[in-house]
Amino acid sequence: MKETPLSNCERRFLLRAIEEKKRLDGRQTYDYRNIRISFGTDYGCCIVELGKTRVLGQVSCELVSPKLNRATEGILFFNLELSQMAAPAFEPGRQSDLLVKLNRLMERCLRNSKCIDTESLCVVAGEKVWQIRVDLHLLNHDGNIIDAASIAAIVALCHFRRPDVSVQGDEVTLYTPEERDPVPLSIHHMPICVSFAFFQQGTYLLVDPNEREERVMDGLLVIAMNKHREICTIQSSGGIMLLKDQVLRCSKIAGVKVAEITELILKALENDQKVRKEGGKFGFAESIANQRITAFKMEKAPIDTSDVEEKAEEIIAEAEPPSEVVSTPVLWTPGTAQIGEGVENSWGDLEDSEKEDDEGGGDQAIILDGIKMDTGVEVSDIGSQGGPKHWKNGADAPIILSDSEEEEMIILEPDKNPKKIRTQTTSAKQEKAPSKKPVKRRKKKRAAN
């Protein structure tokens, strides 16, 4: 769907309000929206809500071979997806610019800053390392995706536990979560992105812009910092000219904000760990607020299935016996069989799929006639079902499946030299069930439509 354009009066209203130091939701210039972090039942799963912007993060791991030039380091992989439910404008083909920008920023923030110790992810040098994959899904877009995504990523990484591995000489043992408790990743520091939106050529700035403010901003400055006041990444986009002291001021503000957010994250992680240890209930079900009128819960409900058997017997007794199976397979050559008639696909949306059910050309029938079928299966069975195809030679005509204009159809057999085959006969070796499936190769020429 196309993005609804922002009306001029709304744009003017927002800019005038910003000039008067007012924001639509009542925040101050440097205020963040409420951040809410909730965890799922499996390790490494979290949902972060920054105001109304919602991001789901999940970390997973896998044992793979390492990269050739980094044989002793694990692999980190980040993937941020803008789900189509986040905004009507996010369609698969349409969001590439924004997506690339966000993904690149995430990578710079988390991978280049070396916040995860990749050396500790090595199991057997040069052979097996852990690949840590972080999947982030944007669920609702209300501005400032990058901040929410970076918080979700770092929270998920801190929450994640990977399976324990022990190496004894040549033997590597991978323990399941039941055998040994999974171990956390080794994280040096927590980089968090803070976004600053600039208006009127850099005169006014706002921290944590929401969706409307992002639409009218001139440029965006993103600073990724950790609580030790180390800048991990800094990016300015939109082509605004910033003065040096503006950038320094922003970095000071970012330092303060990152400290607050880091504290919030640590508290949330601690709470979750406490609940898990004490055996209390955890997971998304617990984070649904009970008082909300839009939320509803129901406890475990037993179902009475005592009359299930009687009902089933009744239905079966009244039902008709199943009809005979209609389509029989036709064996063209050993290992090449046809069941059914090949109708149009009903999957619906595949615009690139080749349509194979146009009328067949005459040459197709001639070639197939040349194949001697020595199988004893009646071809006329198939013919009598009346496919949507044309026949040229009466009841014995084969079903034509494509409009290929190729003169020659080669059917490769497992034990024959493909080059010798032209119009194929099967009188020589006939096997019931060839060990390898021969490949029917047809070069398709699409009719120029």
């Binding site: 769907m1 799922g40 789900s83 998304f284 037993p302 079966i316």
Partner: protein, 234 residues
């Protein structure tokens, strides 16, 4: 909306205590549903069955691309995104099943040449995923106000090697001989869609279907009470 309502959310099933004679596992897990939790989609719902959780967002009726336009009814699209990795063939297959179910109940002829998009995001998968997706999709369509001829629900059941039937199986219980998922409609508990995996006899199929119909009573009661709560203050 934060409200101070204290409606008792605990429902006791019709037959109270005691497991059914069929097997020890015939009960539905703890359900929870929250509607209207996302601000951008027209309708959204998060449905939780035990530890399985699916978030659904609905946009519609909205503008449709000319290539996908149908002259006399709405074009329904379903998109299912897994949590880890890129969507593959399994997701496409589930999307199709859910789309067929939705097309059977949504009154598309009231909104011709528009599109209704249902986007599903798997938040956690602990068994009965397709059933949970169906339930989330239904609640999201209701939240969006899309006209439907009936509500629908998804119920999954698993058949053990010794013939024991388990409703709403967890991931461990899904490693059974057969897993059957049914979509049932709310008016007459008729079957809208069935998706099965594994080996079972036709008697067992009918038994599972009857058990699913019994379970769907509870799911529809859950829908009704959840909506009653939502509209209790107008």
């Amino acid at each position: 909306m934060e409200e101070e309502t204290h409606t008792d959310a605990k429902i006791r099933a019709e037959n109270g205590t005691g497991s059914s004679p069929r097997g020890p596992g015939c009960s539905l897990r703890h359900f929870a549903c929250e509607q209207n939790l996302l601000s951008r989609p027209d309708g959204s719902a998060s449905f939780l069955q035990g530890d399985t959780s699916v978030l659904a967002g609905v946009y519609g009726p909205a503008e449709v691309k000319v290539s996908k336009e149908i002259f006399n009814k709405a074009t329904l699209e379903v998109i299912l995104r897994p949590k880890i990795g890129l969507p593959g063939v399994a997701e496409k297959s589930r999307e199709r099943l859910i789309r067929n179910t939705c097309e059977a109940v949504v009154l598309g002829t009231l909104h011709p040449r528009t599109s209704i998009t249902v986007v599903l995001q798997v938040v956690s998968d602990a068994g009965s995923l397709l059933a949970c997706c169906l339930n989330a999709a239904c609640m999201a369509l209701v939240d969006a106000g899309v006209p439907m001829r009936a509500l629908f629900c998804g119920v999954a059941c698993a058949l053990d090697s010794d013939g024991t039937l388990v409703l709403d199986p967890t991931s461990k219980q899904e490693k059974a001989r057969a897993v059957l998922t049914f979509a049932l409609d709310s008016v007459e508990r008729k079957l809208l869609m069935s998706s099965t995996k594994g080996l079972y006899s036709d008697t067992e199929l009918q038994q599972c279907l009857a058990a699913a119909q019994a379970a769907s009573q509870h799911v529809f009661r859950f829908y009704r009470e959840s909506l009653q709560r939502r509209y209790s203050k107008s």
